[in-house]
Symmetry: C2
Subunit: 141 residues, 2 copies
């Protein structure tokens, strides 16, 4: 079980495994954020019946369960990307829109430091970098 399935991860979070949730997970991508509206459009285009509210509900559940991450995008809209367990931080290329995970090692230590220095107990962290990925930077040079 090196790579638990979506169903496993849902069950692990105490969430039911349903057709809609698997459909949404199927449409989400790990390297390109999609808005709720995009997810809905894609599923409808594939002629899959799914309710608008279900998509929003499901994406929220995914974020809570750690299966997806909400990223701030232009225009005050949220984008969602899938997350491997414990890979919740991202590099977001503002040029090509692609997303890469940030290794957890970049963050580990910060929470402990905050606890030690200031007594702050970290429940959740958001660490996202916006900029240019190596491919885009190379292309511009």
């Amino acid at each position: 079980m090196s790579t638990p399935t979506i169903a496993d991860r849902l069950r692990g979070a105490g969430e039911r495994v349903t057709g809609s949730r698997l459909m949404v997970a199927d449409v989400l991508s790990a390297d390109r954020p999609r808005t709720a509206e995009e997810v809905l459009r894609r599923l409808r285009r594939q002629d899959r019946r799914i309710g608008r509210a279900t998509v929003f509900r499901t994406l929220d559940r995914f974020v809570e369960a750690g299966l997806a991450r909400r990223l701030e995008m232009d225009g005050h809209v949220y984008g969602y990307v899938t997350c491997e367990p414990d890979h919740h931080h991202h590099l977001l290329c503002t040029s090509c829109g692609r997303v890469e995970p940030v290794p957890e090692s970049y963050v580990s230590g910060l929470a402990e430091r905050l606890l030690h220095d200031r007594g702050f107990v970290v429940d959740d962290a958001r660490l996202d970098f916006y900029g240019g990925c190596s491919a885009c930077v190379d292309a511009q040079a």
Copy 2:
């Protein structure tokens, strides 16, 4: 000029200094996020005439100019806090709602590491921690 004024910082970012902008800056707090709606309500309560659109526009400008920071709050609404120059990261206590700045030293090095390891050029970073501040944790114990 150890502590530049709001007007200075606006001018420094190439933005005009206007009455509305100073009013909004006046209502924003450094240690408690306020939504756009709250800012509007507070100004109206003080019997200060200001347009709804102006508040939203001004808050966006502040974020762009580095005078304020957008934080994700419950209910898919944004909260805004003022930022000292180069203090753009925060601890947000989910119990009392208060915000503390994270010293830049916690972040410095990460960007360089990303550039060196993966060729990613960081333009902007978002590092926010959600959890319990020392006061709230102590109170619960």
